[in-house]
Symmetry: C2
Subunit: 166 residues, 2 copies
Amino acid sequence: MDAAEKKTALRMIPYGLYVLTAESGDELGAATVNWVTQASFEPPLVVVGVKTDSGVYAVLQKSRAFALNVLGKGQQGLAFTFFKPAQRDGDAISGEKFRRGATGSPILASTPAFVDCRVVEIVARGDHAVVVGEVVDAGVARQPEGRADDATLWLKDLGEKTFYGG
Amino acid sequence: MDAAEKKTALRMIPYGLYVLTAESGDELGAATVNWVTQASFEPPLVVVGVKTDSGVYAVLQKSRAFALNVLGKGQQGLAFTFFKPAQRDGDAISGEKFRRGATGSPILASTPAFVDCRVVEIVARGDHAVVVGEVVDAGVARQPEGRADDATLWLKDLGEKTFYGG
């Protein structure tokens, strides 16, 4: 396999950006992720590729729950904030206010939509784990005008040369 | 959970379009899919949400292999072709020429890139199965200019109101 062709072919997959959050006891994890797809309508399932040495992965394995906070167009700053390790301060994570969703996972106040999931399966076979979640709650704070996916911050919105995994 | 909010939140996930192919003995499956994400760098893993009552799902369970043929900008016609059941005619599927990749999976001649995968795990918990594949070969027929993901046909390119799952 040609490494350059593999890289280019995989970079042809387009992505949105999300802040993945989880909480267990007094441990809280939050990280920007892009490897996300829906994977079933009924029950509604989503899949997230989560770095196995990340804080949020350690937390969601305990909580067996997570939320995906969908970043909106213009929220590049928030994406970069959660590339760094999350810091909790009262009812804020890295300066972003949150509440707890149906599963107890943190729902950010400033993002346009979220899905709140319980973990139904984890396939850990690489540097990122395939985390399968069943959507148990979802919310839209700002109804998108036009296509819903156009309201989402895309990986390509971070800059011409920015690619990211997990 | 509010069904309309769930639908909108999940539709905020942007997608590309791919023709998923598999072959086992004299059975061949091919279908347009969009629920795709990378899920690990090392080993390189991808995840596809595959309709459990589809022909291609029956085939890839036997072959334990599949290819994702990445559709390029302008290939809307090909996306619609593979929404319909695939028909084989010699070295063509539904009119599209193919060759066999490293895993034996059909690689379409007219798409700009492919990843060829062996199935490493299937999580079947809904109307679509989470199929985890390890990339064993990949190829790029036409090197993208600019960002690789801009060269891909996006779900939104099929029309303002077109959404699709699997």
